[in-house]
Homo-oligomer: 740 residues x 2
């Protein structure tokens, strides 16, 4: 049990963490935030297709550069030469009695003038799939996730030599073709089902915000869980002179062709399928009986050919030098490239970053200077696979690990409730900021509004229950761990820099036009964030984060939340192993008793399930011991900082900030994650091998249990424990420094 | 804790309960069961519409009478004069810009010759609604259940003066218009949504077994939870001379007009609705965005007028006199009336009863006679509201309570797994029978197959988990409690006669044609029970039940399962009160904190929820004390019967059987359930006020908690405890009799 007196001090410390904010400065900052101006920037930047390599993306980079300079920043463009494929030929047709050629284009919709500017727009396409021209029977596979393959196997159907058609959802886009490829499929079609993303969600655009029947979702299918960034230069920057892998050997590029299609197109293919009627949970919203297919009756012809040359990408890097600690950097980024017009994704976040830069520039012109150096980053080529941020982080890795205090990321922004994922050492800092920003719709703080939503949520998921409990008990809302899907990944997972990803969401709708040609200024300003009120609220939130990270002379990190969070994760690992062990034991008994065979409907010719692997007992003792040390050191650190921090000499305070920043790097442990995923060095957070954007915590251990790599459970228990021991040692060092 | 030695004896007793079955007799019985002949009976009886009052229903009664007589039974027809409305005029149209007139008819389908015999067939109609001719805006209300009204209220919409359109499912048909009427609606439309009952379930008829777009579900909407049977003669038989209520005062007849429609018709009405997009869980499978409606834009005109004269119904009652105990009766029933052709419902069960009667008749012709009297009952008018069985049970109430040993019911039968609901005193008897019947598809016993399915089921519901646990531990599969929806109701709920309802199901599909014109011999023999194999298996199951109930000279009842089951129910009541109390406390805190208001999307103009009523603490002590006595007496009874039963003199054994039969009547307590539901006298089982077919156990207490009638919690805790004390006293009396 934690020491009661230390606990009280720790709470006091958490509450005190906003004490050194400068309300007058922040008011002056707020006064500069102009939602109307932000909307204007979006309208300009989203006026033409702005995907990687498009002329308008370049124009936007130059505009950003020019603006930053005007606002008083030292700005430049940094380029990299990355592999980035573009479509040469695409085609998809249904063969047989009712042949159909997929349209693969998104026609303009009335009332959305932007959607009519189709010149130069990318068609239905996903980046980093394989070239191919295949004709084969189609198999419908629900969401195309691992459990779907198990269900398919029990129906006696496989995907070998076939083209898989799977719906978007329940797992990251790229996993669907990757799993299909691993199972021997020759091609993959991914479509947006109207039950998940169309008329069953809301009225369809332009009548409502939801995906219209011709809308499809572009994206990247590079194998993100292996590593992000340029597929040819893993771990190093894609400079002109970098040593590159041959494309055929690049491990993150798929071999099979893949196309994303609309539900208007998909309906023709799915209606043609025969064979087994699917399990009920596989039925989507298309108004047909979904069947598995797999026979020669319904064959498709899929063709994709890409142009594979290197392309130049353009990051805009803007700096405002710190007056007191120029070698302590506060990083702030948002990407700039879209898939088509990119209004919600990414410009709704990019305009927030711009508004902050303008406001901070204005403050700087009046005499105030940040104590630490601010580095604002307008990333290119996030969409194809975090290319801009990854190459930049790899290029500047050493300097960043020496100087960066934290990285604050935004991406698309919505309306509603503050949603923050990030390093748990920043959890109490986030709350302190959130208490000081007013929600535009209700007038209470964005912290209070998020807590209200958590409190009354009827969502039964464990995460929602965790939030509800925290809200009911008046504790900080726990941060979500960082998975992937935006530019924070290199900073937190590869460099060990404390990171945050911040947005508003939960009201309004941007999902229905995600990665489509209807993600326009018109859609965003009508359905997502009318009046750009939440763009303003986000600028006031992330702006405050930047100002406080820049100016507070003591660390903003608090460690009791880290210890509490890790304690939950360790507990989850034990439950995971126990649950898996029980499931295997129950299945073994049921198989031995012939229960699956007896329970099967013999007319559906299903077989017994594949036997699960027996689960041994694991020793989590190294992790438990490390956790114990972390709990003690975290409580001691937070208490010492609260008690003594303010009285410390300036040099000690600066030393503590540097120490806290670098301490996050103790979470990195060579050789990183196994299975070719060594780029992911962080032992506490990673994107899941089979979840993609979704995080896995204590990933080395958790995924070893999930994937039944028993030797890795031991190896990564030791490595993760080592990371936590080193992390705790850093806190003990901090306590010593404060006691000097 | 239960006494360990008694526990062992009780288990031995349970296992011994089939010891006195006569395997040779049962083999000879089995040899008479001929699935092909059963299929032939169905084909004949389902050849024409056979709803109440139709010529073919009368023909079927006469056929049944003739067959029973041929098979050696003493058979007769008993008639009653019941209120039974038939449609004079029905009509439904959508007004406005895209007017549409609902078709309200089911066209014949290719390959199903029966479906072309439409002469005399009932159109879209539900029995016991009100006459009416109304024009009003439409409101879509999901399943039309209480929670749906709460959600609607938060959207700022009400149904007062409107016509409600709700989908079938999640609650009994009749509750939807009843709740609509209580909330001030002027009419109600119920439709089958394809997500629950149509193409999203399976291929549609005739390609597959699921409901085609023109198929609709007829049924009764009389207020069954108040009382079943003739609405004009509650509690007494509807003989020609019975005193009758005026129709306007009959409490089970609705006031508002109601029509059931197909999804082909419903689509036009739902597509016309404007207003709020519904919550996601309200979206069905129609390929449209479901909206709530409620405005003048989408108005409907609904008209229903019925002919309300009394009609004659015909029960066939067949008796085979007991050789040893003619005044101990074993009752066996199945209804005969359908909604159209009635192949699956009810004839698939009726042919089972016929096969048993023929086989038993054949046995009787060879010299064997049942020890007790068998009474076989072919009920008329079950569909409109259990009219045939209820009036007969009311007519013969006194004699039945003196003589009946048990009632065994069947209704529609399917394919797959043995499913039994019933009085828990018969639980170990059911298992003993199920062990001796072979599953047609796998060759193991129907007990073993049901256990295999329970063991491997992935269904997370509490009931499925309870079954899985019992299967894993090798215990008897717990019986489901009896709710309503078939002819057992009068026997178990009103007369206190131990009852069972038995069927096979879980494979094949009859749901898709339920109460439609496609419930035909063609559909049943193709999709539900090809070869009538499970008709045969059911006859062997229920036939064994009848033979053993007739011939076993000791009681087949065992009481440890009753005590275990009641213990679970008492535990559930406590949890229910606690959960409800916590929910209120949490809601009150959230309201006080303004959390609902703050969490609301202000653009959707929702309000705060209606405050829940605070839940006091209740004393369940009377129930707990009664339960304790029941546990002790049940263990003692089962142990004594196992130890001494076989050695008792014949007269004592007969006395024990009579005592056990009558002991079930101790569960009946005047004044029965509150709120005008006094016909339901059983304090252990009842159909739920708001669940209909679904049972409520310890209903007086459970529903008092659910409905927030706190005084009734106390009253019915006392009444239920009294029932259990009397039940236990009966077991103590049995132990004394055995000890004489």
């Amino acid at each position: 049990m934690r020491h009661p007196r230390l606990l009280v001090l720790a709470i006091a410390a958490a509450l005190a963490s906003s004490a050194t904010a400068d309300p007058a400065l922040e008011s002056r900052f707020d006064a500069q935030i102009d939602p109307a101006e932000m909307g204007g920037w979006m309208k300009t930047m989203a006026a033409e297709p702005n995907h990687v390599g498009s002329p308008h993306n370049k124009t936007n980079a130059e505009l950003t550069l020019k603006q930053f300079r005007e606002w008083g920043w030292d700005a430049k463009i940094e380029t990299f030469e990355v592999l980035y494929p573009t479509p040469l030929e695409i085609g998809l047709e249904l063969l047989g009695d009712s042949p159909f050629k997929a349209t693969l284009t998104e026609r303009p919709v009335p009332g959305d003038e932007t959607s009519s500017r189709t010149a130069g727009e990318l068609p239905a396409y996903v980046a980093f799939q394989g070239d191919g021209d295949v004709t084969a029977p189609l198999v419908y596979l629900n969401y195309g996730m691992p459990d779907d393959y198990k269900a398919l196997e029990r129906m006696g159907v496989d995907v070998k030599g076939k083209i898989v058609i799977a719906r978007y959802g329940q797992g990251w886009r790229g996993l669907k073709p990757q799993l299909a490829q691993e199972h021997g499929a020759v091609g993959c079609i991914i479509y947006s089902d109207p039950r998940d993303d169309g008329y069953a969600v809301n009225g369809t655009y332009p009548d409502g915000p939801a995906r219209p029947e011709q809308g499809f979702q572009r994206g990247s299918v590079a194998m993100m869980p292996t590593f992000p960034g340029d597929p040819l230069t893993p771990g190093v920057a894609a400079t002109a002179s970098a040593k590159r892998l041959p494309r055929e050997k690049a491990p993150t590029i798929l071999k099979i062709p893949v196309l994303p299609i609309s539900y208007g197109d998909a309906k023709h293919f799915l209606a043609a399928l025969g064979g087994h009627v699917t399990p009920p949970e596989w039925q989507g919203g298309l108004g047909i009986t979904y069947r598995v297919g797999g026979s020669e009756d319904a064959r498709a012809h899929l063709k994709v050919k890409s142009e594979w040359s290197l392309k130049t990408i353009h990051n805009v890097v803007a700096t405002l030098k710190g007056a007191e600690h120029p070698d302590q950097w506060v990083l702030r980024g948002n990407h700039r490239d879209g898939w088509v017009f990119g209004a919600s994704d990414p410009l709704s976040g990019h305009i927030v970053m711009m508004a902050e830069a303008k406001a901070i520039g204005a403050l700087a012109k009046t005499g105030w200077k940040p104590a630490r150096t601010l580095v604002y980053l307008s990333w290119d080529a996030e969409e194809p696979m975090l290319l801009g941020s990854t190459e930049w982080a790899e290029q500047h890795a050493k300097e960043l690990q020496q100087k960066a205090v934290a990285y604050v990321n935004t991406d698309g922004n919505g309306r509603g409730f503050l949603e923050v994922a990030g390093s748990h050492s920043l959890q109490s800092f986030v709350r302190a900021v959130a208490r000081d920003v007013k929600d535009p719709q209700t007038g209470v703080s964005v912290d209070e509004r998020a807590r209200a939503a958590a409190l009354v949520s009827a969502d039964p998921s464990p995460r929602a229950r965790q939030l509800a409990k925290a809200a009911a008990e008046g504790k900080d809302l726990p941060l979500d761990p960082l998975g992937s899907g935006s530019d924070f990944s290199s900073f937190v997972h590869h460099l060990g820099i404390a990171s945050l990803n911040v947005s508003f969401g939960g009201e309004g709708e941007s999902g229905g036009v995600y990665h489509s040609a209807y993600d326009t200024w018109e859609h965003h300003s009508r359905f997502v964030d009318p009046g750009f009120a939440y763009a303003g609220a986000l600028a006031k939130t992330t702006g405050r984060m930047v100002l406080r990270l820049a100016d507070e002379d003591l660390p903003v990190m608090r460690y009791t939340p880290v210890a509490d969070t890790v304690a939950e994760y360790v507990d989850e690992l034990q439950k995971l192993a126990d649950t898996k062990r029980e499931a295997q034991q129950q299945q073994a008994k049921a198989i031995a008793a012939g229960a699956y065979r007896l329970a099967d409907d013999p007319t559906l010719s299903r077989g017994e399930p594949t036997p699960l692997k027996p689960v041994p007992y694991f020793s989590f003792a190294p992790l438990q011991n490390a956790l114990q040390r972390l709990k003690t050191s975290a409580a001691a650190y937070d208490a010492a900082l609260a008690a003594k921090g303010a009285a410390l000499p300036a040099s000690t305070r600066a030393e503590l900030v540097a120490l806290a920043a670098r301490n996050e790097q103790t979470l990195l442990q060579e050789p990183g994650l196994p299975g070719g995923r060594g780029w992911y060095l962080n032992m506490l957070y990673a994107p899941g091998r089979l979840t993609g954007y979704g995080a896995k915590t204590l990933p080395g251990v958790r995924e070893a249990i999930e994937d039944e790599r028993w030797a890795d459970v031991e190896t990564y228990t030791a490595l993760s424990a080592r990371a936590l021991e080193m992390y705790a040692r850093g806190l003990e060092e901090g306590v010593r420094v404060m006691g000097r």
